[in-house]
Symmetry: C2
């Protein structure tokens, strides 16, 4: 292939653009057909590449999987995490917005929750990723919840550590029920009710 | 094989005993190696049967899987569900006991949560089972939570329907975190804190 007609992009830029396109199509196909169901050859075709061409960017399907997971984390972090950490978005509103956003991307939600559960097994290709992710997310969530407690925004009669595990567990568990019965289990509504439970109740509990 | 020395059990009794033994060993092996990892031949061997002998009782691995899942439900129902429904065990104590019991059977918990997530896909052999199970469990849980609300045992400012999805989601989600990090996420402690959130708080909220 001659590159005479290509715009003046460096090789690194072209490489990055290809990676982004592969990740985008892989996310779409993993979400639609599942990790096992989506074939590398199909992903390559969707990107307009040969399979060896794709493997040049991601040496295996597992590498591609991890890249897809990290990309979703990056996008979600940019959209919600960063705003919350920089206190431009109050924690409770941020979490509510994240749950509402998840309701618009069932394919990705399914991909994530299935892989999270499957990868409990230490041999699973995404085990390290999810193990680390839960730990990191718990750490930052706990810092945020502690701050909210100090500011008197949420109850303090339950340890922040427990609230942290609770918030994440609730999100994960609701996703399973919602994916089975989207008409019966409204993630956002249930999550809102949970936030009601966290509110500081009148005099006694405001420490 | 001659059956002259067998005690006077009817054929139906012997058949039932064999089924029970197969389910017991399959539960153990599914929990240890996962549904895919456990081979029918190994299960047959553990029971002291040939593979065709086992297939005589369960025509496929999927049939055996469903039997294992139903057996766990039956045992848990006998141990907790029935006592709660008959009001011999208060709901909150019963749920706490169930979570504590789950902490003693990580293999079964893992089997359940992985299959629940995997079977979101309509083609999965356990899809019908889990879809129905979530619906049934939500129905009975909601009745119990409504009763607890009427008796003034838990808050009424959040709909029972939302509390129902919340309790189940919390249990499922905590199992994932606990299986990844049993030292960091104590299911029982977190669940207890959740029960604290459900308590009716002093005057205003007692309707």
């Amino acid at each position: 292939m001659t590159e005479k007609t290509a715009p003046r992009r460096t090789q690194a830029e072209r490489r990055r653009a290809s990676r982004e396109k592969i990740i985008r199509e892989a996310s779409r196909l993993f979400a639609e057909y599942g990790y096992r169901g989506a074939k590398l050859a199909e992903i390559a075709q969707a990107v307009g590449m040969s399979e060896p061409g794709l493997l040049h960017h991601f040496p295996s399907k597992e590498h591609l999987l991890i890249a897809v997971l990290e990309e979703r984390d990056r996008v979600d972090h940019e959209r919600f995490g960063q705003a919350i950490l920089e206190e431009r978005l109050p924690l409770m509103e941020g979490l509510r917005a994240l749950v509402a956003h998840n309701e618009t991307v069932p394919g990705l939600v399914q991909l994530f929750i299935v892989l999270a559960a499957e990868s409990i097994q230490p041999e699973h290709p995404a085990h390290g990723y999810f193990s680390q992710r839960y730990q990191q997310v718990r750490e930052s969530m706990m810092t945020l919840l502690q701050k909210a407690q100090q500011k008197g925004e949420i109850r303090t009669d339950v340890p922040a550590e427990h609230l942290t595990a609770m918030v994440l567990a609730l999100m994960d568990g609701l996703q399973i029920q919602w994916l089975f019965h989207p008409e019966q289990v409204k993630m956002s509504a249930v999550f809102d009710s949970f936030l009601t439970l966290l509110k500081v109740t009148p005099p006694e509990e405001t420490v």
